[in-house]
């Protein structure tokens, strides 16, 4: 279904958007609309569920989306006094949607890099996730505390991510395997014994464990893990290049969202995943 379907849903986000003379998109309620794209396949940041429980939002595709990204989007829209319209789209499509003006921004767990900043304008970070490893709970590396304990292990992650890049530091004593494409395939690879574990961000790791209790998170305490700067693990909201107005507005809202608020929101998101209630 197209965006027309959402009108009947009657949710605050559901009214049919139209373009005013000024160029800004508004709804029948008169408010401007914040059009946000998300990919929906990246728990706990975003996922789909069958109904609007736990504050899920109906997307323009007619599905109900929830997760940390949705919570943040709602928060921003509310603070900016705008109606929220979420479009569910595949990862590759997110950026194209922004660049072609089909949406205003994407909130999809994207890390801020200087390379990406050449093509989009990022907001300030809306989450910072530290790097952890996920291994089999009954495997030989279940009791690792320091990265150096991964001697002889085979680890991997997703290509072109900071999680994969940090594995360069362990190649002296462990194997950095060929990169995979999703967390889901890495979980399958651990189950199949193809790898011993993989690196990822903490929220994802928590989500993974919710549905895969036979895995274990290795959360390195200070000095025992992969030293990376905050910038490398900061997640931001990309907007169309040059749309400084929107970036400024979002930054203003994010400034009012403390680290504690963010962690609370993330905990709420992890807790609302359908399987855990």
């Amino acid at each position: 279904g197209g965006s027309g379907d959402t009108a009947s849903a009657g949710a605050s986000t559901g009214e049919t958007a139209s373009v005013t003379e000024a160029g800004a998109t508004t709804t029948a309620s008169g408010k401007e609309v914040l059009r946000v794209a998300m990919s929906a396949d990246y728990a706990p940041f975003d996922w789909l569920q069958e109904d609007d429980s736990n504050g899920a939002v109906m997307t323009s595709n007619g599905s109900y989306m929830n997760g940390y990204d949705v919570l943040v989007a709602k928060y921003i829209a509310e603070k900016l006094d705008m109606d929220l319209e979420i479009t569910q789209i595949d990862w590759d499509g997110l950026i194209l949607s922004i660049q072609s003006g089909k949406v205003d921004c994407a909130i999809a767990g994207m890390s801020i890099t200087s390379e990406r900043s050449q093509s989009v304008d990022f907001s300030d970070p809306y989450y910072n996730a530290n790097i952890v490893a996920v291994v089999a709970a009954d495997g030989p590396y279940a009791d690792v505390v320091n990265v150096t304990d991964f001697e002889g292990a085979t680890l991997t992650s997703i290509l072109n991510t900071v999680w994969y890049d940090v594995l360069d530091k362990i190649t002296d004593y462990a194997t950095k395997d060929a990169a995979l494409d999703t967390f889901a395939s890495m979980v399958a690879a651990v189950h199949a014994g193809k790898i011993d574990g993989f690196t990822c961000d903490m929220p994802s790791a928590k989500s993974i464990l919710v549905s895969n209790p036979d895995l274990k998170i290795i959360d390195f305490e200070g000095g025992t893990g992969f030293e990376v700067s905050n910038e490398e693990t900061d997640l931001g909201i990309p907007c169309q290049k040059g749309n400084t107005e929107l970036v400024d507005k979002i930054n203003e809202v994010l400034a009012g969202l403390s680290k504690e608020d963010r962690d609370a929101m993330m905990d709420q998101a992890v807790a609302s995943q359908p399987v855990s209630n």
Partner: protein
């Protein structure tokens, strides 16, 4: 946490419970786009295949050469580009490109059908060309000798015989299209495959999520193949024939 499934089938049932609505919706979208795309694409493929099978002869006059040549060149370029590039790129260019460059705001669903149609047309045209070339030249000469023009010859003689040869190919194409719709999530079409990715990305249970999808695909394929067999059978006609009483015959 108490009701987390522990077995393979437990997970499958759980995922179906969680996402049955989406699976259905995705299935519908997949079906609609791929069916519409395949059917229209087959017509396009026949058209383009016919254009490509026309041979322009040295002795034709200039005007005829141009009249036949232009569609031939266009067809050639079209087929080369659409066979030669990935569907995802075509989807991006058609959906986002049309909006960026021409300001046309295509609905994702319509864009999806359009993309599948163009893609199918390109592949089918090759198939049709092969089919036409495999028809016994006696059939063509028989038609020519009656003074039959190119178009009626195609419609009454060549294409019905070609269809019989390439029917399995049409099946292949539809089956491939059902699967290929998966790249359409890049243009915000939520089809079956996307739902699967969502299910896998939310619960990190790849095997289970994809098994459900595989079963749905399998069912669709079997149904469609059954349908195609029926059509083939219908087109082949009766094996036996009536011998009329010479007196009764007219």
């Amino acid at each position: 946490m108490t009701n987390t499934p522990t077995t393979f089938f437990g997970w499958i049932i759980f995922l179906i419970q969680q996402y049955h609505g989406y699976y259905l919706q995705g299935l519908l979208t997949t079906l609609e786009t791929s069916l519409a795309g395949t059917i229209c694409g087959c017509f396009l493929g026949f058209l383009v295949g016919i254009i490509q099978a026309t041979d322009i002869r040295a002795q034709d006059n200039m005007i005829k050469k141009i009249l036949l040549g232009i569609p031939w060149v266009i067809a050639k370029i079209y087929v080369t580009i659409f066979r030669g590039t990935p569907m995802i790129v075509q989807a991006m260019v058609i959906y986002y490109g049309s909006s960026t460059v021409f300001g046309i705001d295509l609905k994702p669903f319509n864009a999806a059908i359009f993309i599948i149609l163009l893609n199918t047309g390109a592949y089918m045209s090759e198939t049709v060309r092969g089919g036409i070339n495999s028809i016994d030249v006696g059939q063509i000469e028989g038609a020519k000798a009656l003074g039959m023009g190119y178009v009626p010859m195609m419609i009454y003689i060549i294409l019905p015989q070609t269809f019989k040869i390439i029917a399995p190919q049409i099946g292949n194409t539809f089956v491939a299209n059902i699967k290929d719709t998966s790249v359409l999530n890049v243009i915000a079409v939520t089809e079956l495959f996307y739902i699967t990715k969502v299910a896998a990305g939310t619960y990190f249970r790849m095997f289970e999520a994809y098994t459900i999808t595989a079963l749905i695909y399998l069912t669709l394929t079997l149904l469609f193949n059954g349908l195609l067999k029926l059509i083939e059978k219908y087109m082949a006609g009766k094996e036996s024939y009536e011998v009329l009483n010479p007196a009764a015959a007219k």
